[in-house]
């Protein structure tokens, strides 16, 4: 069962959720009212989910946590019934799970939190894949540059330049891109 941290720092009664959450079998690790306590509770309890109001001043702190740590708790942002549907959609796009507080019932909470966590996993995977692809593209560019340098300075053919890079990589037990990086920084140094 996901472990939940509640942030109660607006006039809206988020703190009241505690009973409903516990009734539906969730563990509420703490209820905090400012960011200092939030950071402390995240460190001490490592919650899976942080629930807070859309107008909570603590939201930026969660943005920072999410940017720094892959395993940062998943924010679940609560809206009241009069919030705009577009806004909820934008917040969901921003990587939070949304939940409309009105008509609160414990039976509705469980699926919301489960979906929030599942979406989070999916997003982390997608992001990792994207980063991997970007890294590959960048690596390939460096290798191309190093190859070009060898061709220009040593008069090698493209095939020979590539073979030379591969040979260096094998001999020094390095990745191809690391050899390319060394050659490029050497060339920079030697002018």
């Amino acid at each position: 069962m996901p472990r939940i941290l509640l942030i109660s720092d607006t006039a809206k009664p988020i703190g009241d959720l505690r009973a409903a959450l516990e009734e539906s079998g969730h563990e509420v690790v703490d209820v905090v009212a400012d960011v200092g306590a939030l950071l402390h509770a995240v460190q001490a309890h490592r919650p899976d989910v942080v629930m807070l109001d859309v107008d909570s001043p603590s939201r930026d702190a969660l943005e920072q946590l999410a940017m720094l740590h892959r395993h940062a708790p998943r924010p679940v942002v609560m809206f009241s019934a009069d919030d705009d549907e577009q806004l909820i959609r934008a917040a969901v796009g921003a990587g939070v799970a949304a939940y409309v507080v009105d008509g609160l019932s414990p039976s509705r909470l469980r699926p919301i939190i489960q979906v929030a966590l599942a979406r989070f996993e999916q997003e982390v995977q997608l992001r990792q894949q994207l980063e991997g692809v970007q890294q590959q593209l960048h690596d390939r560019k460096l290798i191309e540059q190093a190859k070009g340098l060898l061709m220009e300075k040593r008069g090698m053919s493209e095939r020979d330049a590539y073979a030379a890079l591969r040979q260096q990589a094998m001999r020094q037990n390095l990745k191809l891109v690391d050899v390319a990086r060394r050659i490029l920084s050497m060339a920079e140094l030697l002018g």
């Binding site: 400012d34 960011v35 200092g36 001043p57 930026d60 702190a61 940017m67 806004l87 921003a94």
Partner: protein, 358 residues
């Protein structure tokens, strides 16, 4: 001056409770919005994340925004990616880095920043306001220029500015980077000291901007030009006299824009006499402050790359900035408001460590 035809067009404008939202409050109080056929409805926000979400959702049309954050949304760093538009810069300077009394004293007595912060023996916790925001950028730049690695040797956290002085006093932080009046508060309460003003770190740095979605700027060019012209006039008025600044401080307090006593706000808005003025909070400077310099945008993208948030390839930056910085609507608005225009679209800056940027 040209105004939009027909009944006033209502625009919902977001802002955060910081003194540099003053141009928006002034534009409404002086009726400058009406003069351009607009009715600005100012909506105070509780977090920059909420500002971003409401801007993207269309719940607000334009906003007072951290310059860095706008580039962060445009490039999709750490959140949703949405094409953005910088209509104008609202102010230069006016932020500061604060340290707890002990490290501030060591620094004053000539210790290096590493010694003052006791890095690497400890990993001090320092706060800013948003992951890609200006306060994070000033803090990271200041640390790195003094040989402290902001990504590994400190713990960077984000805190709402009003909670910063309390966290510093409670020992939860060793320092923070923030907009006024929250640096002044540390000194007033005697719980910390300003170790550098942002205007000393980068004299004349861009701070808050007036931003909207690029789609909005493209679909309603006349509206954003009118908005820019009205706010430009407000910026000019703010820099005209000390009396104007003091009146703005009263409006900020009376309109509930910032929950602090008016004397504190007056203190933050009034300029000192003499040379120091170029490093202090400015709203206009004959338009030099307000022009959305392309070189400023490049600086933020460069910093994002430096911290590993943006792919190292800088190709396409110029094309991105040409769309992001709305020079055309700015120039039209400046003509309407009678504000001088610079000849170029880049400028030269020198930062506190001698780094030149253009």
């Amino acid at each position: 001056m040209s105004r939009l035809a027909g009944p006033p067009r209502t625009l919902r404008i977001g802002y955060m409770p910081l003194v540099d939202c003053a141009p928006l409050v002034v534009a409404v109080r002086l009726g400058l919005d009406r003069r351009y056929g607009l009715r600005l409805e100012l909506q105070r926000q509780a977090s920059w994340a909420a500002v971003r979400d409401r801007l993207i959702s269309g719940e607000i049309d334009a906003t007072h925004a951290l310059a860095g954050m706008v580039y962060g949304i445009d490039t999709g760093i750490g959140g949703p990616c949405e094409p953005m538009a910088v209509l104008m810069v609202l102010n230069h300077n006016g932020q500061a880095i604060v340290l707890a009394p002990e490290p501030a004293r060591r620094l004053r007595e000539g210790a290096s920043l590493r010694e003052a912060l006791e890095v690497p023996r400890q990993r001090p916790r320092l706060a800013h306001t948003f992951p890609t925001g200006t306060h994070a950028m000033w803090l990271y730049y200041w640390l790195a220029a003094q040989d402290v690695d902001p990504l590994h040797e400190i713990e960077a956290v984000t805190l709402p500015p009003p909670q910063m002085p309390g966290a510093l006093a409670g020992g939860e932080l060793l320092g923070y980077s923030v907009g006024e009046p929250w640096a002044a508060q540390a000194e007033v309460q005697g719980i910390g000291a300003r170790v550098i003003r942002s205007g000393e770190l980068w004299p004349g740095h861009p701070e808050k901007v007036l931003a909207c979605r690029r789609g909005f700027a493209a679909l309603e060019p006349d509206t954003v030009t009118a908005l820019t012209a009205a706010v430009l006039e407000a910026c000019r008025w703010l820099d005209e006299s000390a009396d104007h600044r003091a009146r703005a401080a009263h409006w900020l307090a009376a309109d509930g824009a910032i929950d602090l006593p008016v004397e504190v706000l007056v203190e933050c808005l009034l300029l000192p006499e003499g040379d120091q003025r170029t490093t202090r909070l400015r709203f206009h400077g004959d338009g030099e402050v307000n022009f959305p310099w392309l070189s400023d945008g490049r600086w933020f993208l460069h910093q994002f790359r430096r911290w590993g948030w943006l792919s190292p390839d800088a190709m396409g930056d110029d094309a991105r900035l040409a769309e992001l910085h709305r020079l055309d609507s700015y120039r039209l608005a400046a003509l309407q408001a009678g504000v001088p225009l610079p000849r170029g679209d880049t400028r030269r800056s020198v930062l506190f460590d001698g780094m030149r940027w253009e």
